[in-house]
Symmetry: C3
Subunit: 351 residues, 3 copies
Amino acid sequence: MTQHAPEITLGEIARRLEATLDGDPARVVRAIAPLEHAGPDAVSWLGGEKYASQLATTRAAAVITREGVAVPDGLAAIRVADPDLAVCTVLEALAPPVPRIPTGTHPAAVVDPTAQTAGAAIGPHVYVGPGAHVGAGTQLHPGVYVGANARVGENCVLWANVVLREHCIVGDRVHIHPNSTIGADGFGYLFRDGKHRKIPQIGIVVIEDDVEIGANSAIDRARSGGTRVGRGTKIDNLVQIAHNCRIGHDSILVAQVGISGSCTLGHHVVLAGQVGVADHVKIGDGVRIGAQAGAAADAPAGATLLGSPAQDAREALRQVLALKRLPKLMEQVRELSKRVERIEPPANDQG
Amino acid sequence: MTQHAPEITLGEIARRLEATLDGDPARVVRAIAPLEHAGPDAVSWLGGEKYASQLATTRAAAVITREGVAVPDGLAAIRVADPDLAVCTVLEALAPPVPRIPTGTHPAAVVDPTAQTAGAAIGPHVYVGPGAHVGAGTQLHPGVYVGANARVGENCVLWANVVLREHCIVGDRVHIHPNSTIGADGFGYLFRDGKHRKIPQIGIVVIEDDVEIGANSAIDRARSGGTRVGRGTKIDNLVQIAHNCRIGHDSILVAQVGISGSCTLGHHVVLAGQVGVADHVKIGDGVRIGAQAGAAADAPAGATLLGSPAQDAREALRQVLALKRLPKLMEQVRELSKRVERIEPPANDQG
Amino acid sequence: MTQHAPEITLGEIARRLEATLDGDPARVVRAIAPLEHAGPDAVSWLGGEKYASQLATTRAAAVITREGVAVPDGLAAIRVADPDLAVCTVLEALAPPVPRIPTGTHPAAVVDPTAQTAGAAIGPHVYVGPGAHVGAGTQLHPGVYVGANARVGENCVLWANVVLREHCIVGDRVHIHPNSTIGADGFGYLFRDGKHRKIPQIGIVVIEDDVEIGANSAIDRARSGGTRVGRGTKIDNLVQIAHNCRIGHDSILVAQVGISGSCTLGHHVVLAGQVGVADHVKIGDGVRIGAQAGAAADAPAGATLLGSPAQDAREALRQVLALKRLPKLMEQVRELSKRVERIEPPANDQG
């Protein structure tokens, strides 16, 4: 499974990490894996105390860890201040080359003569419409569609079959994974005379710099103005962002999240998987919402929410626990009622 | 963000709306925006009483509103009977041109010689299979796939990378947004000898006239017969409709709704975001189901449902409120038990 | 709707099923449909006792059923040991031909000269990258992308616009429906200095033999090592499988299921629609999880779970029922409190 990976010595890893190495600097590794899965050709890492017991049994060649952590004999230790960050560096070192489209336009692409694509790399079966602009260093993988007058910045990667509709704007260093759709019409109808009349969706989508969007996600164009995703925000697969939403910077939207129309999300928001947000809801900076929750009302900055409808997490957990005890509570009330009955005087007015 | 939009005078807007104008008919606007976001080049509207206070502070050039609503000096008023409908007209007036494929077949399309596509507009990288029929005025944007013997009516728009599999039937004026899949195999297996044996899915999908389907949605072909979406029904992004479902006319399915196999939905049904419907469930005309609810049983016409499992909305709300008070109820029962204990006679049989 | 279907006689059906036929062997049918929908040109089946009353009113030409089941006069009976399996055979007999790409490479495909595609069928607008391998008998429908060094086994079907990214591995007889994405980057970031730094996702996806994957689904490549889907597992539409998951063999993942990173699912697991599984969760063999449930903790083999958070199904149902009665319980406690008050002695210490 790892035959495609390059190899690297422990010494070279230590050098790149500016780390101390307790072990053989000439030993070669070809993979990085969790302690319990690592083989003798892999480096591993100690991610947290709860995995410390696995140090004794791991087959890894070396472990990346902090100073002062005891490591068994025979297991090399690479000691760094930030093991998680070090793992990133090792992953980069072991990464096989990622496919790149050569700069220029593949003969099987169709690029409108009025489009500007100088310095861009345009693969086969790509379509770039009239007046569109694709920045230098940007890769359009096979099957990508860039609509008329759309603008894609520099050093972006649009993976295969991504659709970016007309007039939409994408910043620099944006990555969009396969089969995602940016700029489809927002979902808006006016119910008149028993039918749904389409409300024109004449706005656009603006994706700011350094955003990443997963596979098979959809971000709708605004009814008017723009649907906006702030710089550095990361969006997972199968996420829905409806028209006129404004997502702040450096937020995280995990897979299958759905955000209804005209919502405002702050900065550094984290929405876990399958969360839903009702229309026009305002989510403050730093809000965290747990998986499958449904945010039906505004959430102040810093709130942590759970449940559907979503509420303060501690309150929601208290209710979950209470609900577990509810069948027993019902028995207790029945029993209590009998006890009261026993001590009640016989009465005519108990009706 | 709106540099692509045409411009229009207030006078011209009033003329198209057959409205009265209190203000300068020569004033030019280039955008339409909510009162709180509108700039001086935008027209706005008063959508409901709850936004009336924004009239005093809006920077809009004009507001579309009903007769009799007080509007501050300096803000032009365009008075109509149906402001929401008027907004549609203004949006149409300000809409930038939507990309259109020229009638005929692009040289980079592959159209089987037995397909009928007279009067249709077929873009680059489109595939149309043998025996398929694409009606006059229909646009197939780049990357669309129309399978063998499929039929698409007149004046439809299939956006980039839509896949319509073999034998499926699409009516007139149907819009399907990018990356959606119509007619993939239904999900059916027979568990025999420890394995899942595929049940052939030999039916089709029928999409009636005036349906709109969002981006990245999937509507599966029937096991036999047809999966059917009734005329005028509107389907949002990332919606799943399983095999053999029958959806009535003029219904609304919001993003990420999932409908299991062999369900029947009536007319004018509204399913909010992320609703799930279990297999073989019948949903009556006019039923409304709230976001994230899970309909596990049939729902009579006109019902309003909430929750998972879904139930009558008022009942569900009562339970949500009761659950919030449950931790306190537990304390009350504990306290009550103590009070009873205090007044109970010492007894031998309380065991 | 069924004009595309072949026709078959009841006698021929009985012959193929090795069944006994009570009825006219020369009668022709062109469709198979449930008892209540079947017309006189259709064969039907008795799927379970609860439909037995429909035998009296069905318009079907014949019914497939078990020995010993009473069938009204005038309705032919085809008697078999396993009616459901017989239905599969009839569906196969009545199936219209499924489109096939001719073996070889369509001139409008782009296949890197270093790719190996001997015996494969490669349609128009397909891209196959350098070093990729596509096995004999495998069909790549229009718009498919197979990245560099990816491997697809024999007799697979990748429907239109499927994206399989570099280095990923697909076994034999795998079917992937349109617009699905295999091998997009896993969703992993390290939050440092106020920004999300991307964790390289250098692993792959491994899809074992006989897997079927629905439309518009996404299975992410591993951070390192592989995301793995076991042989014979069937995955529906719009399903999300995050990086480093390991799904066992012969499992079922219904539409819109979302599985977070590094989960382990056993064999013969069934996840109903819209189920979510939190990261690092282990789901044992044969576990069944009901629609919309959220598995936040490990589940032992054989467990049946419901609810969000998911718990033992019987326990969850008990709580759902108890919650329905909670508003009434609150009244009872209020009433009980009044009864206690009535019999309590006047006291100074009740404060």
